[in-house]
């Protein structure tokens, strides 16, 4: 299996959880065990769109109980004899090997996953800033020799990149350090926020400079937060910024 694998360096390990739960896209080569027409195959691919039931395979790192997974889309790409190429967008924790097996069962001829390439993990896609291990070794050596920070940006992205799909709330400088100490975000600290936040949504709390302060769980919707004058708007779950980056001023008030 090849493709998009976001690798977190040192402090950015704190955002791994957010990546684990983010959706994925794959290009899959499925091998049929018998003859089927393109029409039959397309029909079965379509049947597996939306919600599917899966029991994790024997060799799995999670409890083997039946669970549902969202399949955002399955796109037929090509078919050559018994080889079927398709693209699938799915929720985290969907087993594509299992998906192929199940589609083979529905076709009545059996099938297995032959090859798999991940083309997306959350906000990371395979075109754009993706790099190989070879690139990493090469650019790192170049960086050590030239000490030009532009070289670092060729193969390393700020951890905020990994949080791009999570709705954002930007806060005042004066609210930052309290959050870094684990306090919840209250309404007066909020400067701007994205649409689509609901009570229970995971949100990224950022400074006006765009630095991630923490991951938090919203306790109100976008519309509610806009109209709130006081009270908690999000519970801090994972602090990402070290304490003391911004001045401590939740007692003194002003910066």
């Amino acid at each position: 299996m090849t493709g998009v694998l976001p690798v977190t360096l040192e402090e950015s390990r704190r955002i791994v959880q957010a990546l684990l739960y983010s959706g994925k896209e794959y290009v899959c080569l499925m091998k049929l065990h018998g003859e089927a027409t393109e029409e039959q195959v397309r029909k079965v691919l379509e049947e597996f769109e939306d919600t599917i039931y899966q029991r994790p395979p024997l060799r799995a790192s999670v409890k083997r109980q039946l669970r549902t997974r969202r399949i955002y889309h399955i796109d037929f790409l090509e078919m050559d004899g018994r080889n079927v190429l398709f693209k699938v967008g799915c929720e985290a924790g969907t087993y594509i090997r299992k998906l192929c097996y199940d589609m083979g069962e529905v076709l009545g001829i059996g099938a297995h996953m032959q090859e798999l390439r991940r083309t997306r993990a959350g906000p990371f896609v395979e075109n754009g800033d993706i790099v190989t291990l070879h690139d990493v070794a090469y650019w790192f050596m170049e960086w050590q020799q030239q000490k030009d920070e532009k070289i670092l940006r060729k193969f390393i992205q700020p951890m905020e990149r990994a949080l791009a799909l999570i709705p954002k709330i930007h806060i005042r400088d004066s609210a930052v350090d309290a959050i870094c100490h684990g306090a919840n975000l209250t309404a007066p600290g909020v400067l701007s926020l994205e649409t689509g936040i609901h009570s229970g949504s995971m949100v990224t709390v950022l400074t006006l400079k765009g630095e991630a302060v923490a991951l938090a769980k919203a306790v109100a919707s976008t519309e509610e937060i806009l109209n709130m004058g006081h009270g908690v708007v999000a519970e801090t779950k994972r602090v990402l910024m070290p304490r003391g980056t911004y001045p401590k001023c939740w007692r003194s008030g002003e910066i």
């Binding site: 360096l9 040192e10 983010s22 399949i71 993990a121 190989t132 990149r161 400067l191 937060i225």
Partner: protein, 78 residues
């Protein structure tokens, strides 16, 4: 059948609740962090090669960059 909306297809708008400025003395824009900090708060969008496990691949990155802790988001095996 209607396609369900994938998280990356959702379009969001930024709405302003209050205006304020940020003090340039504190923190940095993510892309302007000093080199060492930039690395420690960095993520690599790696193209995993066939063969080694996700775990092995991140261990290699750790060795190449001479870091203490390197992890990966979403194992790419099964």
């Amino acid at each position: 059948m209607p396609r369900s909306v994938a998280p990356w297809e959702i379009e969001r708008k930024l709405l302003v609740k209050a205006e304020d400025k940020t003090n340039p003395r504190y923190g940095h824009k993510p892309e302007e962090r000093p080199a060492e900090e930039y690395i420690r708060y960095g993520v690599i969008n790696l193209d995993k090669p066939a063969g080694p496990t996700s775990h092995e691949v991140s261990a290699w990155v750790k060795r190449i960059l001479n870091l203490q802790r390197v992890g990966h988001g979403g194992t790419l095996e099964a």
